[in-house]
């Protein structure tokens, strides 16, 4: 059996989701953003919500998310995406509304907007890409930068006495009455990617069922910022990030009877 025959007679078992358009993404080779973009596109398509989705992009590496996923997008100011999402969802309650934000955007400059939108039980989903660094501006310290981790603004490693502790905003989110589903996932293996996809689907569904706010954190790599190959970055993430940022569901109020 030749390769050509398999392609001609076989089933397509995987292809790029159609909602993810052909525009080349500006992300660095191996960046986790691309995988999450694919998952978001797949879930919207599978839910049949393409014509009912309003997405909000952040300031940070994902600022141009609107160029790649073919839904309506609002490009927010740095950290303010949850405020835009809150108003949008209240004004268009039958729309699927989500934000897509990085750690600097969500857990630093936008902490107030994030926590209050979540605690108001806005029926939205916040997708949180945590790669422990400011990618777009060139690898500076983020609120989620691990102790000892070197960045452009903590070149000798993050120290408590100088920089304080990394912020587990997802744990804070889980403690809020307004949140329905809070989970921490990753996209570094096939199994992890499948779990992350199920988490996104669940969050989107809860938001459409009016069950409250949902936060899906994706512990991610920034191989350029970390100055590693994509493969090494994945290993480094497994060995260092997961120890501090434990994977799994922190809260699932939607599943409670």
């Amino acid at each position: 059996m030749t390769r050509e025959e398999i392609i001609e007679k076989g089933q397509v078992v995987y292809k790029k989701p159609t909602l993810l358009n052909d525009t080349p993404m500006h992300y660095c080779p191996g960046c986790s953003h691309g995988v999450v973009h694919k998952l978001v596109s797949e879930v919207i398509e599978e839910m049949g919500m393409t014509d009912k989705t309003i997405a909000i992009s952040p300031v940070g590496c994902a600022v141009f998310a609107y160029k790649y996923i073919d839904v309506d997008w609002q490009e927010a100011a740095h950290g303010r995406a949850p405020a835009l999402a809150s108003a949008t969802k209240r004004l268009w309650p039958d729309r699927l509304v989500f934000t897509y934000q990085g750690d600097g955007d969500l857990a630093c400059i936008g902490t107030a907007e994030t926590i209050h939108a979540l605690n108001r039980a806005e029926n939205i989903t916040i997708i949180f890409i945590n790669n422990a660094i400011y990618g777009m501006t060139g690898g500076q310290m983020a609120p989620t930068t691990l102790l000892g981790m070197k960045t452009a603004t903590c070149p000798y490693g993050r120290e408590v006495s100088l920089h304080g502790y990394p912020l587990k905003i997802t744990e804070i989110a889980a403690s809020l009455e307004g949140t329905c589903y809070v989970t921490r996932q990753s996209v570094h293996t096939v199994a992890a990617i499948n779990r992350a996809k199920r988490a996104l689907r669940k969050a989107f569904e809860y938001s459409m069922q009016g069950k409250g706010s949902n936060l899906v954190e994706i512990v991610s790599t920034c191989n350029s910022g970390w100055k590693m190959t994509p493969e090494k970055a994945n290993k480094w993430m497994e060995e260092n990030m997961f120890e501090f940022y434990h994977l799994g569901d922190l809260k699932d109020k939607g599943a409670e009877k």
Partner: protein, 359 residues
């Protein structure tokens, strides 16, 4: 006029009632003196049960303006209100909305600054409102009400202009107009637009890809310089059009005037009384009241320079609008400023004294 209901209320309350009546879809605000009655009145009126209008108290002015940004992206009629320090916090969001060309209404019931300043009335945010305020080359359409009636009337007008030009509009009032009670005839009820109407009227809005149309994207970002210049030039062309078409002003006793006062909002009311006092003393003075502060009535002030011997800019600040008057007059006649600071409202007698002293 016979069947019109006349009620007595504060300027801030009039803003809230007018918003409900003109089909506003959403209000997002944060308490700050002297404008908190806007949010309080809306909360008490519960318009979400009648017209379906959304009312939400945000966690900060930063958040309220960004809620307005989000709502405006979807083509809905949305607004916020605040007072000076709160409006300073909103400047980032206002700049984004101007850059993304979004219609929305921001009400600033001014108090004295700088800093935390005072909760007493002031007009010291003229520069902020008319000269940009936030970063970048942009303008808001700025309306200056001088009565509770105008507070009510300008809500619908501001939305109309905002949607006509896809540009944020501001009602620039002050603590006196916001807090004073006057007779007011509220505007008639206008239903909120249906979602179908919004989708039709605002084909640019992020409403979801209804009918699987191509995606709509609202952004103020463009990294390619040539494209960014094209966008900026288009926005500037829009501003020129607004300057040509939307200047609004009131003239008072200018026919035989030898001197003119230019004043807006509360100061214009004081000017009218001052003119009465001055004329009783034989000083022929009249008033030009800009209603739109941007676009500023440049041509009208310029024309005045050919008629009167001098112009007094009466403002409740240290002299801000006076710069626009001087630009319009181009040095042909003396232009002086008189104002009080710290939240003090000028007295008509001291205005007349200033007229005598400065010219």
């Amino acid at each position: 006029m016979a069947d019109q209901e006349i009620t007595l209320m504060k300027g801030n309350e009039a803003i809230a009632h007018a918003a409900i009546r003109c089909g506003c879809d959403g209000y997002f605000g944060y308490p700050i003196t002297p404008q908190s009655e806007v949010l309080e009145t809306l909360a008490a009126e519960k318009p979400w049960e009648t017209t379906g209008m959304v009312v939400l108290q945000a966690e900060s002015e930063v958040s309220s303006i960004n809620m307005v940004y989000g709502g405006a992206c979807t083509g809905k009629k949305v607004m916020t209100s605040s007072s000076s320090p709160g409006v300073s916090l909103m400047q980032e969001g206002i700049s984004y909305m101007a850059g993304a060309e979004l219609p929305a209404l921001i009400v600033n019931v001014m108090r004295g600054g700088p800093g935390l300043g005072t909760i007493q009335p002031s007009q010291s945010d003229y520069f902020q409102a008319c000269k940009g305020g936030g970063h970048g080359d942009y303008h808001l359409i700025v309306l200056a009400p001088a009565s509770v009636q105008e507070m009510a009337d300008f809500v619908d007008l501001a939305f109309t202009l905002a949607f006509r030009y896809r540009n944020p509009a501001m009602i620039l009032a002050d603590g006196a107009i916001g807090q004073m009670m006057e007779k007011v005839v509220l505007p008639p009820f206008k239903p909120r637009r249906t979602e179908e109407e919004i989708i039709k009227e605002c084909p640019w809005a992020t409403t979801g890809r209804v009918g699987m149309r191509k995606p709509n994207i609202i952004t103020s970002l463009e990294l390619r310089s040539e494209e960014m210049e094209i966008i900026n030039n288009r926005i500037q062309d829009k501003y020129r059009k607004i300057e040509e078409s939307e200047v609004r002003y009131e003239e008072f006793m200018l026919e035989d005037a030898e001197y003119a006062i230019v004043a807006f909002g509360s100061a214009a009311r004081i000017a009218k009384k001052s003119i009465e006092v001055a004329r009783a003393q034989g000083i022929k003075v009249g008033l030009l009241r800009p209603i739109t502060l941007w676009p500023f009535p440049v041509k009208e002030v310029c024309k005045l320079a050919g008629q009167v011997k001098g112009i007094l800019s009466l403002e409740i600040n240290a002299g801000q609008m006076v710069e626009d008057i001087r630009l319009a007059v181009e040095g042909r006649i003396p232009v002086r400023h008189f104002g009080r600071l710290g939240g003090i409202i000028p007295d008509p007698d001291e205005v007349v004294d200033a007229l005598k002293r400065l010219f």
